[in-house]
Amino acid sequence: MIKRFIIVLALAAIAVGMYPLAWGIEDAENLSQIATEYVTDGADDLGAANLVTSVVVTYRGLDTLGEVTVLFAATAGVTMLLAARKPKKPGTIAKGKKDSGEDHSRRTGSELLKTGAALLFPIIWMFGIYIFVHGHLTPGGGFQGGVVITSATLLLFFADSDRKMGHTILQIAEAFSGAAYVAVGLLGLWFAAGFLDPRFLPAGEFGQVFSAGAIPVIYSLIGIKVGAELTGIVDTMRRSAS
């Protein structure tokens, strides 16, 4: 009774506290100073048609590097925690595990799911690559493209739950793209204005795939890295769940 009363009280307090936030809402008439700068000069400056990408990859490039690092740390943590349990499997409790594994043997995918996955996998995969290669032209970029690629792989896992996945190629792709991302950043430091500055490559023609300096290169590397890391996470979780 008292607990419920406190919950209602807390909800009312939150509502009263948030009231000015909801009541005073109105469309912003003008942008803040730094946003105005990005909007007016961004396209001329970097030659990227998608302004969001030029902010994410260049103006706030260091933040994106930080995000990628956080994702890497998360992947390493998940893999470490879930893989640490594995050595027990062939050990003392191997028999018990095997028994219960047979009890919970998962259904394999239906014919529909298998055919659909085989048909859709390359298309979704290609769409993911399209998203990050065209990150400077159309909405989306490395993160979104990487997750789309992961979801394509996930579809394969759903269709065939026994599918084995080689982690070596994932690790190579992930390590290569991470190192290359930093290397591209350093190239900007050497040949342009600063770290992660994409203008050491020619700006090219506005709106073309090969334009906006190194932005497509950076976003493609991020896409490969995110795709490899998330695929690794999903595969680790899938194997530990079985």
Binding site: N50, V52, T53, K88, G91, T92, I93, G96, D99, S100, D103, H104, I131, P139, G140, G141, F143, Q144, V147, V148, T150, S151, L154, L230, I233, V234, M237, R238, S240, A241
Partner: protein, 99 residues
């Protein structure tokens, strides 16, 4: 017109959130939580943030849901294993030291 759609989607999201809290079946609750994310991504698209909408649709509604489902299946496996172990604990008591 546009504001009406936003309000309708907002109410649906609210319903989905409440459903996720109160549904007894965990898998259905996870799906309801994923649906809230999907509706949020539609809102982002309508208010002109396609980049955020893509992220929300891909991570919020797809990947998070799948991670929750994996976690749930693992919890279920672990708890049923524990029950099984308790029933035949006298046969192989050495197992409990193992875990």
């Amino acid at each position: 017109m546009s504001i009406t759609i936003l309000v309708v989607i907002g109410i649906l999201m609210l319903g989905g959130g409440i459903a996720a809290l109160y549904i007894k079946d965990t898998v259905s609750a996870i799906i309801a939580a994923g649906a809230v994310s999907l509706l949020a991504s539609i809102i982002y698209l309508l208010v002109g943030a396609p980049d955020v909408a893509m992220t929300e649709a891909a991570i919020g509604s797809a990947l998070t849901t799948v991670v929750f489902l994996f976690a749930w299946s693992r919890i279920k496996d672990a708890s049923s294993k524990k029950e099984k172990k308790e029933t035949d604990a006298d046969q192989n008591s050495g197992q409990e030291v193992g875990e």
